[in-house]
């Protein structure tokens, strides 16, 4: 019985290990700190955004605005750095406040107007992307010595791999996310909402506060992902990060969370992100396989996990009877 709760997570880990073993078997170099370091760096922005998405999905919601918020953040940073002499850290703080408030407002609309998160965050998606467009339609390069400093800082692993600032940032975000989700009252409340809002209300869970908090976190982390993305690309472009929300949703589901909410693990999402990164790395290593296989394989994994969750639910209810 205990297994069913951890089964999706175990399945995710198993898939990851198997996939990595397969990669290693074909390309022994895949098991090097260098590849691992790149895996972390390349997927840092997705990973950070996916942590926010995990909170949203755990609560039974969905946030479609993530990709747009990342693009907005990138453009905002690039333009502000170009136009003013503010220090990047100040700009970072500013943009994080904006995105957190943005998310919080969406949460408030979802709660107080009782509207489906899907539609509300769809409006948010249009709005954030639109504002990014309005700020600048061009790709604005970022040239700042602080950026160069951050990009050049890394921790060298034995074997030549690098843990970059953004790679490390993702790991830190995951760590903090795990603590918040699984070790705080807020985290328990997030799971409670996913289990059922009316029941949560009856049990005294502060539904309004929690909902707003969840979307504020998602907005904040999308902002942080935007900063990461800006460091990764050294530019801000309003057409960037299109569809990242889909990748994030996929990572969360492959990470073993139930899309209907109430069950899942932040750590699972990390592995979900890494599995997706691994597929991409494999395709690059292979050279003959085309990039579209990534999408197809992710789609198949999504389907498999949704089916597995459905099966588990059925099995659980059959067992009860």
């Amino acid at each position: 019985m205990m297994k069913s709760r951890y089964l999706p997570l175990i399945a995710t880990c198993l898939i990851f290990v198997l996939a990595y073993a397969l990669c290693y078997w074909q390309f022994p170099f895949m098991l090097s700190t260098r590849v691992v370091g790149n895996l972390l760096t390349d997927n840092a922005f997705l990973g950070i955004a996916a942590v926010g998405m995990t909170f949203v999905i755990l609560s039974g919601g969905i946030d479609l605005s993530i990709g747009s918020v990342i693009a907005f953040t990138g453009v905002f940073i690039a333009v502000v750095l170009k136009e003013t002499s503010l220090h990047p850290l100040v700009v970072f703080a500013l943009v994080l406040i904006i995105t957190a408030i943005f998310g919080g407002i969406m949460g408030a609309i979802i709660h107080y107007l009782e509207m489906p998160p899907f539609v509300v965050t769809l409006a948010g998606m249009f709005l954030a992307r639109g504002i990014a467009f309005v700020i600048s339609t061009d790709s604005v390069p970022v040239k700042h010595e602080f950026y160069t400093f951050l990009q050049d800082s890394f921790y060298r692993l034995p074997g030549g791999g690098r843990i970059t600032v953004i790679g490390a940032a993702m790991l830190v975000v995951f760590f903090v996310g795990i603590i918040i989700a699984h070790r705080t009252r807020f985290g328990t409340n997030v799971f409670a909402l996913g289990g059922g809002i009316p029941t949560s209300k009856l049990m005294g869970v502060p539904v309004a506060k929690t909902t707003i908090g969840i979307y504020a976190i998602s907005g904040f982390l999308a902002g942080l992902a935007g900063i990461t993305f800006s460091l990764y690309t050294s530019a801000g472009y309003s057409l960037a990060a299109v569809g990242v929300e889909l990748d994030a949703i996929a990572a969360v589901v492959i990470g073993g969370a139930l899309l209907t909410g109430g069950s899942g693990f932040i750590a699972g999402t990390l592995i979900g992100v890494l599995i997706m990164g691994l597929i991409q790395t494999y395709i690059i290593f292979d050279g003959t396989l085309s990039s579209w296989w990534t999408k197809i394989v992710i789609g198949i994994l999504l389907f498999a996990f949704i089916l597995m969750q459905k099966g588990l639910l059925l099995a659980a209810s059959a067992q009860k009877k």
Binding site: L122, L127, V134, W292, I296, I306
Partner: protein, 338 residues
């Protein structure tokens, strides 16, 4: 008269948008014939609006059953790719069209089976194809933009009959045919009854399972047509960008048209007007010299306004308020008695 009244909010909105367009661009309503084909901004609106108009026909039926179909954009890409690769490998336009429609049908049935037989939430079920669909399309086009010069297929996108561009004819024809089918048969009512109360409908013998598959299949077919037109228009299948985010435009058109996202009563005509409103806004922004960047912000604003109007919370508050006002008028004697 009655139907005019019913679509009053949509028609008013459309009129206002068109009027605004006219104000910024006095030639807006000018239509001329050149090369045996109608030209003009208004025609352009109708022409460019074709994919969304087609998508929102299927989407309306899906939403009426309390569902949603996120995959239509990806299905467009798949079907465009199928059509393009068919003519490239020597098939004629009919072959291309049939295969594209078949592909759309299969995609739709896949979604329908997930929703109705496996009982997966529509938003989740259609997400799978939304993610994987573009990969499949790229698989067909082998990653490149698959161009073609088959006159027949190109005709579907940019030809004209009686001076009217094909895309316009197609979406209007599909709109009329589907409206005719759902309203002249019992289909429309049965779909609505599922969307309003699936349990009670099943109790009354409505075959919800089959009807659910059917609406997703229709949505797939509409996406196939839209995808073919989009490909024919640019004479190539672009797996990456064909129909990108059009599912969101289609959902928006349905909602603007007056069908509630919570399912139930639907109006295809309203949705089509909604699609034209959206396209007029797009064109209008372009014409006004207003930067196209504002397009998305305006869309966001429309969604927010509609959200507020449709919000169940606000509606119940309003009803409460209205009831309180009404009960305030009832005789005071009752209170005096206690």
């Amino acid at each position: 008269m009655n139907s005019l009244k019913r679509y009053a909010p949509q028609l008013t909105t459309l009129a206002i948008v068109l009027l605004l367009n006219y104000l910024v661009f006095p030639d807006f309503f000018k239509i001329e014939i050149a090369n045996g084909k109608l030209y003009g901004t208004l025609i352009d609106v109708l022409n460019r609006g074709a994919p969304v108009a087609l998508l929102c026909v299927g989407m309306t039926l899906v939403i009426a059953t309390k569902g949603i179909d996120l995959s239509v954009g990806a299905v467009m890409a798949i079907c465009g790719a199928v059509a393009a690769s068919t003519v490239d490998s020597g098939g004629g336009v009919f072959m291309a069209l049939s295969l594209a429609l078949l592909a759309g049908l299969i995609c739709g049935i896949w979604n329908g089976v997930l929703v109705s037989v496996l009982n997966i939430q529509p938003i989740i079920a259609t997400l799978i194809l939304m993610v994987a669909g573009r990969g499949i399309a790229q698989l067909i086009t082998e990653g490149a933009i698959l161009t073609f010069n088959d006159e027949g297929l190109i005709f579907v996108g940019s030809g004209s009959i009686f001076s009217i561009p094909m895309p316009i004819l197609i979406w209007i024809a599909v709109g009329i045919i589907v409206t005719f089918i759902v309203r002249r048969t019992a289909l429309g009512m049965l779909i609505e009854s599922i969307g309003i109360n699936q349990r009670a409908s099943t109790f009354s013998g409505v075959n919800a399972r089959v009807l659910l598959i059917l609406v997703y299949a229709v949505s797939g077919l509409c996406a196939a047509l839209a995808g073919t037109i989009a490909a024919a228009d640019i004479r190539g299948a672009d797996a990456n960008n064909a129909g990108l985010w059009l599912e969101l435009d289609a959902i928006l058109a349905v909602v603007v048209g007056g069908t509630s996202l919570l399912g139930g009563r639907f109006t295809l005509i309203g949705s089509l007007i909604g699609a034209m409103i959206i396209q007029s806004i797009n064109t209008g922004i372009l014409l006004s010299g207003f930067p196209p960047e504002f397009n998305l912000i305006i869309k966001a604003a429309i969604i927010v306004i509609i959200l507020v109007i449709q919000s169940p919370a606000l509606q119940s508050k309003y009803i409460e308020y209205r009831d309180r006002r009404e009960t305030g008028k009832t005789p005071v004697g009752k209170d005096a008695a206690s």
